[in-house]
């Protein structure tokens, strides 16, 4: 039996640095395997939609631009995604991966969470279909992808 069993711990803490991390002033590097934002490589995709079927959160859509030549656009909803990486495992062609850098995902507008991936030309085609008569946005300015 003793009084103040944690007294030494407390005393020692007076002379050590606080355990609190100073984020956002000091950014720690995320672990290499961190499940951050999803990315997609259109070149390898066959359009099998297994990733879409297995996603538990309904977070990915695969939009067909031209099935014969295997042109697709992936619309990813980062706000619905649970970062489980099931889609990465489901894809047999290794089109999908999760970035360990895209984890500061806060945004003021909901639109910022909808990201479209695809080749420049395919994205432009999709934009033309979805926004008839608005004119293609200038190159480099992908529609509604303010997450980067």
């Amino acid at each position: 039996m003793k009084f103040g069993a944690m007294f030494v711990d407390v005393l020692r803490s007076v002379f050590t640095r606080p355990a609190t991390r100073l984020y956002p002033k000091v950014r720690t590097k995320a672990p290499a395997r961190l499940h951050g934002k999803l990315y997609w490589d259109p070149k390898l995709c066959t359009g099998c939609t297994l990733c879409v079927k297995d996603c538990p959160a309904d977070a990915i859509e695969l939009i067909t631009i031209d099935r014969a030549t295997k042109h697709f656009v992936m619309r990813y909803h980062a706000d619905r995604c649970t970062y489980c990486a099931q889609c990465v495992v489901s894809c047999r062609f290794k089109c999908l991966g999760m970035s360990n850098e895209g984890w500061e995902l806060a945004a003021l507008k909901k639109e910022a969470f909808t990201v479209e991936y695809g080749s420049e030309a395919d994205l432009a085609k999709l934009f033309a279909v979805e926004h008839p008569g608005e004119g293609i946005p200038p190159a480099g300015e992908k529609p509604a992808s303010a997450l980067e």
Partner: protein
């Protein structure tokens, strides 16, 4: 006794009540009984001290079959005996077995409100999970449930807290400054002494058991992982084991070992979290802050290894997603060395600090007999001297290759619960080291078909809070037909509510915390 002889014993005990029995799996016995035979059957098992009631599953066989089944699962080591009572879909009735097994109280209330089965003779038949404004006669787990029919109805305001003479009912929760969890308790007090206790759940019920019936087998994994944010991995292991059993696939040894490893890290995180919460409830905030600071070590390890901090998503059906390379193994070794040293220090503190011991020693003591009577599980049972641990009684996955030894204590009071959980950390650290030293080589996963063969299975795993029970039924499709989840918290409430009676009201918060209740596990 071997599993086989246990099952034979159960079969002969139930012979007079049985209307037919089957052996669906090597460790299981299903006995069909009539509802009039339920009480004699349960008495027979109880009098012979054949295991304990682990869960009560409701099962709707569909509109065409016109049958709802109530399944009473009893476990003794690895053997599971299920009493199957077949009832008409509308107007079915079973007698309550509360007088024999008090822990069944919550299960019977759940069966009644989710399936519309009348349970006659329940001491408390008020709503447990469904909201107060849920319409009467609408049962959400029936297959033909129409969400449109669940329009809220008007309910009269609840009665004012009544007082008769010197007695008061003190309501606590669901919003209360001293209770940070969404539960509602009513403690009747006479002066400072509690004379009766009740509780109400369901404030954050998510209907996960219903929701998985609309998702495919893979999607369900992630939903079930989210039953609990603390033992998420254990839930996904329980589900995976069940599905893999139904699909008859053999998970590679390396994947099994990695599952046990993650489960070990999760147990460390859970117990350290609990240590902090329990210390906080006792007013010992220094211990709370230091234990939570140290818990960050294991959280960081989990994040490094799996990529996620809470829902690790380490499992897939058929194996795991992640490998443990030498570099990760080194990081884990370093982390658990530090944590083990800290845990020894904490064990020293909780067993010697005079002030703290006044809040824990001899408080809420539960004898072995009481613990058995209330059917408690996990560290709560082990602190009362019952060796109840699925990892030891019915080893699954890698626990056959990397066994652990169960920690028990005899006193059954709050102090014993601290000691058991802290000593479990040492056992877990050692198990993790053994796994890292002997990680089997090989594949990480095998293929599991998208359609799972029809059948029923039971999977039991040991979560940090006690035995987690899954009943999984497939009809051969790409979606589960039924997944029943019985979490350890739901089991342990009964004992704690009974124990609160006769205690000082001031001891109740610590008594509740001593059980390590998980509200999100309750409100699946």
């Amino acid at each position: 006794m071997t599993t086989e002889s246990l099952l034979q014993q159960a079969e002969s005990l139930l012979a007079t009540m049985s209307r037919g029995s089957t052996r669906p799996e090597t460790n299981r016995l299903d006995v069909v009984i009539e509802s009039s035979g339920l009480v004699p059957a349960v008495s027979a098992l109880k009098n012979a001290r054949w295991g304990y009631l682990t869960a009560l599953t409701g099962l709707d066989l569909g509109v065409e079959a016109g049958v709802v089944e109530a399944l009473y699962h009893f476990c003794s080591d690895a053997a599971v005996t299920t009493l199957r009572v077949r009832l008409p879909r509308i107007g079915g009735s079973v007698p309550s077995i509360y007088q024999l097994i008090p822990a069944v109280g919550f299960y019977e209330r759940e069966l009644a409100e989710m399936y519309g089965v009348t349970v006659t003779g329940m001491p408390d038949d008020s709503r447990l999970f469904l909201p107060d404004d849920w319409p009467v006669g609408v049962y959400p787990l029936l297959k033909d449930f129409d969400p449109q029919s669940a329009q809220p109805v008007k309910v009269p305001p609840p009665p004012r807290g009544s007082s008769t003479g010197e007695r008061f009912i003190i309501p606590i929760g669901p919003q209360h400054p001293a209770l940070k969890e969404p539960g509602h308790f009513e403690f009747t007090v006479d002066g400072e002494i509690v004379t009766a206790a009740r509780m109400r759940l369901g404030y954050v019920h998510r209907g996960i058991e219903k929701a998985v019936e609309q998702r495919n087998w893979i999607q369900s994994l992630y939903l079930l992982e989210r039953v609990c944010g603390i033992c998420s991995h254990t839930h996904s292991v329980a589900y995976c084991l069940g599905v893999e059993q139904l699909a008859q696939v053999e998970v590679p040894p390396r994947a099994q070992a990695i599952r046990e490893l993650i489960a070990g890290l999760e147990r460390i995180h859970s117990h350290l979290l609990w240590l902090g919460v329990a210390a906080h409830e006792a007013g010992f905030d220094t211990l709370f802050m230091y234990s939570w600071r140290d818990r960050e070590t294991v959280m960081d390890l989990l994040e490094t290894v799996s990529g996620n901090r809470v829902n690790y998503s380490a499992n897939i059906l058929g194996g795991v997603k992640i490998d443990i390379t030498a570099e990760f193994a080194e990081a884990i070794r370093r982390g658990i060395d530090y944590l083990e040293e800290r845990s020894r220090h904490y064990l020293d503190i909780v067993t010697t600090d005079t002030m703290f011991l006044q809040r824990t020693r001899g408080i809420g003591a539960m004898t072995r007999e009481q613990a058995e009577h209330f059917g408690v599980l996990g560290p709560l049972a082990r602190a009362s001297g019952i060796l109840r641990d699925v990892r030891v009684e019915a080893p699954y996955g890698a626990y056959t290759r990397f066994p652990i030894s169960a920690v028990t204590a005899q006193a059954g009071d709050l102090e014993a619960r601290f000691v058991v959980r802290l000593k479990e950390l040492f056992v877990t650290c050692n198990a993790i080291r053994t796994i890292l030293d002997n990680l089997p080589p090989g594949e990480l996963a095998v293929k599991v078909p998208r359609r799972i063969p029809a059948g029923e299975t039971i999977s039991r795993v040991e979560a940090p809070r006690g035995e987690l029970f899954y009943f999984i039924r497939s009809t051969g499709g790409d979606k589960p037909d039924r997944v029943k989840v019985r979490t350890p918290s739901l089991c342990n409430w009964t004992s704690v509510l009974h124990q609160a009676i006769g205690c000082q009201l001031a001891d109740v918060p610590l008594l509740l915390a001593g059980m390590d209740p998980c509200f999100s596990c309750n409100d699946r």
